[in-house]
Amino acid sequence: MPAGQDLGFDALVRITAPALHRTALLLTGGDHHLAEDLMQGTYVKVWVAWKQVSRADDPVAYTRTVLTRTFLSHRRLRRSSERPTDELGLSESSASGDQDPVLRLDMLDALRRLTPKDRAVVVHRYWLDRSVTETATDLALSEAVVRTRSKRALARLRAQFTDLDLDPREDS
């Protein structure tokens, strides 16, 4: 969205909510309630800082950054209860179904089992298609950390989704 465009708060929400909702779902590992809370918290912050947001070069990007940082901030406060695991991300249905479980692996579940920061890196790099540099800026991390986390997260996903066709860029 170009800078200086006369964009109201309602319009920003209307424009950004569908994509932000999907990003929030990914960041929260598919938890609809947490995703809704995250979006709500994001838009409250955007509303309060509206003067600043409306003057930003890209209000949509600004809003997306608020979303991610709100997510990471929220996770920091809950770190004591964080329990990342290496278990396979099988959906509930796969546990009792007759189909080959590999075919029913759920990517959202797999993302949920990454650490929050790794998940945020994956979401930014491979869902939002942000570069390493942009992701580093978005998440307030160094580029080296983004690369390290990205590699580690992809290795975990690869282990679970053997049919995943990864772009060479994704290992860089």
Binding site: F9, D10, V13, R14, A17, P18, L20, H21, R22, L25, L26, G30, E36, D37, M39, Q40, G41, Y43, V44, K45, V46, W47, V48, T70, S73, H74, L77, R78, D106, M107, L108, L111, V122, Y126, W127, D129, L154, L157, F161, D163, L164, D165, L166, D167, E170
Partner: protein, 275 residues
């Protein structure tokens, strides 16, 4: 299939409804306005301007800082029921920047929680903060609320000792207790004649799954320290739903949102409660 397509495929399956944009917009405005007011109050000093309209009463009441904690609470399975937990909308959330609770911060948090359920003016802020030297994280706040029906106190007591059970006991009138989906138990009841003849206290007691106990009481009286409790109106100033909503706020933790701690620093007229 590449990673992005795979994610999109799973999202398509999971996200078939999409966001409620009208609700998001309305709630962001509502919560944002109150958050902005709190921040402005914290920045400019003085009372929480938008939340403290109207007369400030002369009396500086002090009630029992452990109000609502007396008596043995026994669980009554017959009164338990599972019900949805409608968490109240608030300008701040537990995940916002926080700091160790203070007496003033607790009072400011109660002002904010009240502003979510009523437009009535508040005054005479009383608080008792955690006593770190005793390893005691509990805090208490009391505020005078005044509407057309007259002034009355509203109190909150947040306790972290653990071991609370929740539920109804024989001493509680009109008791209702429900188990919430998150494992908390919320109990609403009425105490009559507890402090003075005609005194009515409408109480909501939340015992959370993490062991924290939050007790909110709305009274039909005011209390002057060392003098007594005076009934000022026929009924408490808040309904059961309103006090339940206050108890269910997510920020009643050992750390309170920084915006409350800041606002509390300049909250007047404030009085620290005696231990």
């Amino acid at each position: 299939m590449n990673l992005r397509d795979r994610i999109a495929q799973d999202l398509d399956r999971t996200d078939q409804v999409g966001p409620d944009i009208a609700r998001l917009t309305a709630q962001a405005r509502s919560r944002g306005k109150r958050l902005a007011l709190l921040r402005r109050a914290a920045a400019t000093g003085g009372t929480l301007v938008a939340l403290t309209i109207g007369a400030v009463l002369v009396a500086s009441p002090w009630n029992n800082p452990r109000a609502g904690t007396e008596g043995t609470v026994a669980t009554d399975p017959a009164t338990h029921a599972t019900s949805p937990s409608p968490r109240p909308s608030s300008p701040v959330r537990a995940e916002d920047e926080t700091g160790p609770a203070t007496a003033r911060g607790a009072a400011a948090a109660l002002v904010s929680a009240l502003s979510d359920v009523t437009d009535s003016p508040t005054s005479d802020y009383v608080g008792q903060g955690p006593r770190a030297e005793l390893g005691d994280s509990d805090y208490y706040a009391q505020i005078r609320l005044e509407d057309d029906g007259g002034p009355a106190n509203v109190e909150i007591n947040v306790q972290f000792d653990g071991g609370f059970i929740g539920g109804c006991s024989e001493t509680m009138d009109e008791c209702r207790s429900a188990r919430l989906p998150d494992g908390a138990t919320i109990t609403s009841y009425v105490l009559t004649g507890d402090k003075a003849p005609g005194d009515i206290r409408s109480v909501a007691e939340l015992v959370r799954a993490d062991g924290v106990r939050v007790v909110v009481a709305a009274t039909n009286s005011i209390t002057r320290p060392g003098v007594g409790t005076y009934v000022t109106r026929p009924e408490p100033s808040l309904t059961g739903d309103q006090i339940r909503s206050i108890a269910l706020q997510e920020y009643w933790n050992e750390e309170l949102p920084a915006v409350f701690l800041e606002a509390g620093k300049t909250l007047e007229p404030f009085r620290a409660a005696a231990s």
